[in-house]
Every structure is written in structure tokens, then in C-alpha cells.
């Protein structure tokens, strides 16, 4: 089981705790990781405004993986959505594929995209490729006594068509199950499907922070001890911006935000320091105390 690890733009700079914990759990679970130097931005930031650039940027990353003969494992949900969508689109649309390859100076016929390689979000790799059974067998410390709110975000499951309806985005379960396998309780809460707002942060901060606030308030109301995220943008909204949101809305949430590999790493018995828990903006001490 070997993947080209697609870090995207945000994780390696703004969410090193996510990347660090991912690499640690991959080591423990026996997931092979290869870092391809050709990987750059996936193209998502330009999708909304220049589709052709979006296709070209995504395609050149996919080509790098195909040339290396590796499937891609993605940390960021927006990157995952982009690469999954373009991988499939170029496999199915011959005319566009020819045009894209020509613009990238590549020959048509050499690349099959989705016919040759798969792109998966890390969470899906864990849930589908590694599997709950294997993970459960490797758990060293059950994280009983803590309850967590799973935040799926948007692009991990939506639009569901590009993911072949892998999971119902209205009623998802993979992350809940992955939380459950660690021994922690995954709580249900009202705003479970809500978007974090990161997509509109650069355009309108007020809207973005208000969207994140709704989720934080809902999680707090559910009584969960913290939030589990699987995307560096969602992490930035709930962890990095939590203090700002508290000040703006005159509220106190104090909700630790864990990247799923950090949570799993704790259950796999990996040293806390190696999981980058000290890099989380909202202190996770309350969670760790409960686990002690």
C-alpha cells in the first residue's frame, strides 16, 4: 500500500500538525508514503474563475503521480475534490484531455488518468483501503471517556457524483466510524453538515467567521469535548480562528480541534509530541486530562 502524498498548499505551512501526525500514523499502519517534488497547488483556487487553468494545474499533478505509478492520498479536502474530479474528467473526455496534454507539452495516449491512478482523501484511504478492522487491531489505547464531534467538511464527500456516491453526504458515517474505532464517542449534533466558511474567507471575513461560529456553537451545545477535522482549511477556521470568533461573538467555546490522524495517533500509542498536539492553537489539555 503506497501512495504519493499530496500535501497541497495549506497543510505543509499552516497545518504541520496534520502532516506530522499523518506521516506518523502512516508509518505505524504500514502505509507507504512518497513525496513527489513535482506536486504543486492542485488548481482549486482558480477553478471558480478560470476553468482551463484549473484543469491544467490539476492535470500536471495527476501526470506526476501517473508517471511515478502511484495512487494519490490527499490531506486537504479541496485538493482531493479537485484531483478526483479532474482525474475522472480527463479520463472520460478525450477532446479536453488532448487539449490539456498538448498545453502541458505531453503526448496524448500516454496518460489514462482515472483509468490508471486513483485519488483518495486520507480519510477514505483509512476507512476503505486500510479498513476499520486493521485499525482496530492496532489500537493500543482506547480513548474512552471523550466525546467528539466529527466535522466532515464539504469537499470530502461533495459533490457526491465525483465520488461515485461513495457516501451519502446528508448522512455520512466514515469519520464517525473512524472516531469510534479509537474508543472515543462520536456525538451527533445539529450543525453536523455545515460548511466551515473557509471558502469565502478571502472574500468576506464576516460571513466566513459567522459560518464557523454556527458550528462551534452547535458542537458546544452537543456537549462534545472537541471537534475532529480532516481538512487544513476547516482546521484553520475552527482552531486558528476560534479565539477571534469567541471575541467577535462574545462567546466562550474552548473546543479543542484535532486532525483525525492526531486522534488516531493517540489511540495507536504514538507519543503526543510526534503528533504535533503542541501546535494546536486551542489547547488540547482538557482532552488529554480525560484520557489520562
Amino acid at each position: 500500500m503506497e501512495y504519493a502524498l499530496f500535501l497541497g498548499c495549506t497543510a505543509p505551512i499552516k497545518a504541520r500538525n496534520y502532516e506530522l501526525s499523518t506521516r506518523r500514523i502512516a508509518d505505524t499502519l504500514g502505509i507507504g508514503i512518497v513525496d513527489l517534488p513535482e506536486f504543486e497547488c492542485c488548481g482549486f483556487p482558480v477553478k471558480s474563475a478560470h476553468y482551463e487553468s484549473f484543469l491544467l494545474m490539476a492535470a500536471r499533478n495527476l501526470i506526476a503521480a501517473e508517471e511515478a505509478g502511484l495512487n494519490i492520498c490527499v490531506l486537504c479536502s479541496a485538493c482531493a475534490g479537485t484531483l478526483v474530479e479532474v482525474n475522472r474528467y480527463l479520463a472520460e473526455n478525450k477532446k479536453t484531455r488532448r487539449k490539456v496534454l498538448s498545453k502541458l507539452g505531453k503526448q496524448d495516449g500516454q496518460y489514462g488518468f482515472a483509468n490508471n491512478i486513483q485519488v483518495k482523501h486520507l480519510t477514505r484511504v483509512l476507512h476503505e483501503d486500510v479498513g476499520l478492522e486493521k485499525i482496530e487491531s492496532m489500537i493500543k489505547k482506547r480513548l474512552s471517556h471523550i466525546s467528539l464531534a466529527a466535522h466532515y467538511g464539504c469537499h470530502y464527500l461533495k459533490p457526491s457524483k465525483i465520488y461515485d456516491n461513495y457516501e451519502d453526504p446528508e448522512n455520512p458515517h466514515s469519520l464517525d466510524e473512524l472516531i469510534g474505532v479509537t474508543g472515543a464517542e462520536s456525538v451527533d449534533y445539529l450543525a453536523k453538515e455545515h460548511c466551515c466558511g473557509a471558502g469565502v474567507l478571502a472574500i468576506n471575513e464576516d460571513i466566513a467567521l459567522s459560518m464557523a461560529q454556527k458550528k462551534l456553537a452547535s458542537v458546544k451545545e452537543s456537549g462534545a469535548d472537541g471537534i475532529v477535522v480532516i481538512c487544513p482549511f476547516c482546521g484553520a477556521m475552527y482552531d486558528e480562528n476560534q479565539k477571534r470568533i469567541e471575541a467577535k461573538f462574545r462567546a466562550a467555546y474552548d473546543l479543542p480541534v484535532l486532525y483525525y490522524p492526531q486522534l488516531l495517533g493517540l489511540a495507536l500509542g504514538i507519543d503526543q509530541k510526534l503528533l504535533g498536539l503542541n501546535m494546536n492553537r486551542v489547547k488540547v489539555d482538557s482532552l488529554l486530562d480525560k484520557l489520562a
Binding site: 474563475a49 478560470h50 502541458l104 471558502g199 469565502v200 460571513i207
Partner: protein, 442 residues
Amino acid sequence: MSKILVVDDEQVMLDGCKAILTKTGYEVDTVLSTEEALRKTEVTKYDAIVTDLKLPGMTGMEFLEILKDREPEIDVIMITGYATVESAVEAMKLGAFDYLSKPFTPDELRGVVGRAIERRRLLREERSKATKNRVAFEYNMPVDLYYLPEHSWVRRITEGTVDIGIDDVFQKTIGVVTNINLPSRNTIIEQGNPCAEITGVAGRVYKFLAPVSGQIVEVNEGLKKERSLLNTDPYGKGWIARIRASNLKGELANLLSGDAMIQWWLRREIVERKTDRYVQISTLDPNFKHEIAQEPGGENIKVCFGCGICTATCPVREIDSAYNPRKIIRMVLLGMKERVLKSDFIWLCSTCYACAERCPQNVNFTNIINAIKNIAVKEGIIHPAFSAQVDLLAKHGRLYEVDEYDNWRREKLGLPTLWIGEGSAGKVFEASGLKNILPTGR
């Protein structure tokens, strides 16, 4: 201080008007010809212009048309001599604010200029407020009446009998009514000539001009007891008098009604820059929806049946109603291309795809809004946040610049270092054509 320009070919008239208006508190310029007036208006911004209708060379009417063409918002008050009531009414149809019949009293001049200045003040006040209050100076004119625009109305009661009253603009520009001098029964009145006097606060007197000629058969006694009816119900209980009209058919032709009134009203709204409240057919582009359908992701735009699930589902809409997917689709289907592309709201999508998942018609609004933004960018309409992101990507291949310090920190954590440099995004943008579209030509 409000600035007034008075135009007349008689110096004595100019001196008189200047004395009255200066004493009232206005700054007044006077000129003897329309040619001179046009030169003056090029360098000075006036709040109102008072001009004689009959002037040598260019007529007052031609002068009005040139002025309105050049500065649609300017309020022009026409001064008419004998037997020119019809022309004066015609001038009001063309956009003159009001008119004064010679000879007029200082109070009449002050009254009509005061109304023009007040109207301008109300509009200015309205524009200075947040957009929420944009409709503060909305006209509210029943469609079944005949109007002397911005002044009075006529309602047909029986074959030869009509009621008359003041219209919306008159009501709004006189403020609170403190006194009304109504005509007596049986008085004969003439279209365009004063038939009642209304006093506002500060004692300013406004002449009410009869919109039709005839004999007064009844006056609204209720108004004497309750003057506020003029302000609160100008088209109903605030009527002024009932007239047995002497030349109704001929005189109603001088007034505006039905479609003509609506046209006048819309023209006025456009002049007052309230166009975003209306869909102007001339500005629509029926091909807009087809253009979107040609864009990747825009294919299903035409199958939307407006159920509104996208809007009900949208988390951005929940926070800010400026972003309303259903409304945007309606605007697109109507062909409101320019307004949609230039709006800020098209950039507010969070790309959560909730709308796409729930749409019963598989429209996929997230992709539609992307298609719209793609068209906007091609037309050079680019949000600065997007330009900034493209700039970063072109320079660094990522949304963040990576330097030696970042790599030092990563190494300390046991993470592999990241490449530092330009990356290939710049070349990609060159190949895709994006580089040429961006304003800086990146």
C-alpha cells in the same frame, strides 16, 4: 448654501428674482441668455435653474432639453407668460420640475424653488443612507389618475366631474402642512393657474395649480379640520376640490396618465439612479444563459424551475441575504448579464455544494456560479482576492511562499523539506491564457 441660476432676457426680472431668492438664503447667479446659461452650467453646479419659457434665440424648451440631456438630475422651473399654460405642462412632461405663471409673487417664487431644493435634499438624504433605505423616496402614484407630474392629479368621477388634489412629490416636498386656503364653491378655475394656497412649516406658501379648468362644485371641508390628510392620504381623503370641468377631453390630453405616466415615472427613477430596482429590457442579454450553458459546469442552467431549494440550503445565504442562489439564477435567466457579472455577490459562494446535492433538477448551482465567475474574469471583472491568489500561485506555485526558515522548522519536526522557487503555475497560466486576462498582465 443652495445655488440657483435665473435665466431671463429682462434685466429687471433677473434683479427681482435675485433679490427675492438671495433674501431667502440662496446663492443666485443671473444670465440674460440661454447660451450664457449653458456656459455657466458647465463650470458651476446649480441646485435649481429658473428660466423663462420664451427667450430669444434658443427657446426655454430647447434649453430644457439640452440641460436635461447633459445633467438629467437638474431641477428646472419654467416661467411662463400669458397663454402658455399648455407649453408649461408640456415642459413638465419633458422633465421640468414646475412652472410659474407671470406675474408671480415673491412667495410663489420662494415656494416653488423651495420645493425643488427640498426634493433634492430628500434624494441626497436617501442616497446617504445605507442601501436598505434606498426606497425612502419612492413614488406612490395610483395608475388610474391623470397627472400634472410632480404637482397635481385629476380623478374622473362622472362624465364631466372630476376631483383634484396634490400628488406624491408635491406632498413630500412641502413637508408638514400648517394652513390651507381652499377656493370657494362656484369659483371658476383655469388649468395651470393657482387655485389654492398651502402653507408649510416656516410659513412658506405654495401655490396649487389647477390641473383642469371648470367650476368648483365642492371643496373638501374635511381638509380644513384635518390638514394632515394632505400628507397622509393625498390621493384619497386629502382631495382638494370637485370640479365640473369645462374642457375635460382637451385638457386631459395635456396631462399624463396610464402608460405615459409610467414612462415618465420610470424615466424619473432612472434619472435618480434607482435603476437597480428595475429590469430594463434594453439592457438585457437573452444569450447570457446560453453563454453560461457553454461553460463547464453551466450546462444545466436552463432546467432550473426556481424551486428555491438551493437558497434554502445555502449556508452563506443564512448569514447574508445578498447571496441568494435562486435570485441569481432568475437574474441569469432574465438576461441581466451586466448586473450579475458586476455584482459583488457572485464571489460569495463558499463552494460547499449543499445546493448541488439537494437540487431536484441537477442544476448544480456551485458550478453555475463558477461558470458565471469564469465569464466575469474573461470580461476583465476580477475580484482582487482572486487576483492576489493567482499572483501568489504564479510566483511560488503555492498559495504561500516557502522560505528557508519554513524548511528549517520542518526539518526540526522531522518533516521533509519543501522545494523553494517559482514552480510551474506561471507557465500554466501562460498556456491557459489567464496571464493575459489579469489586469496586471501577469
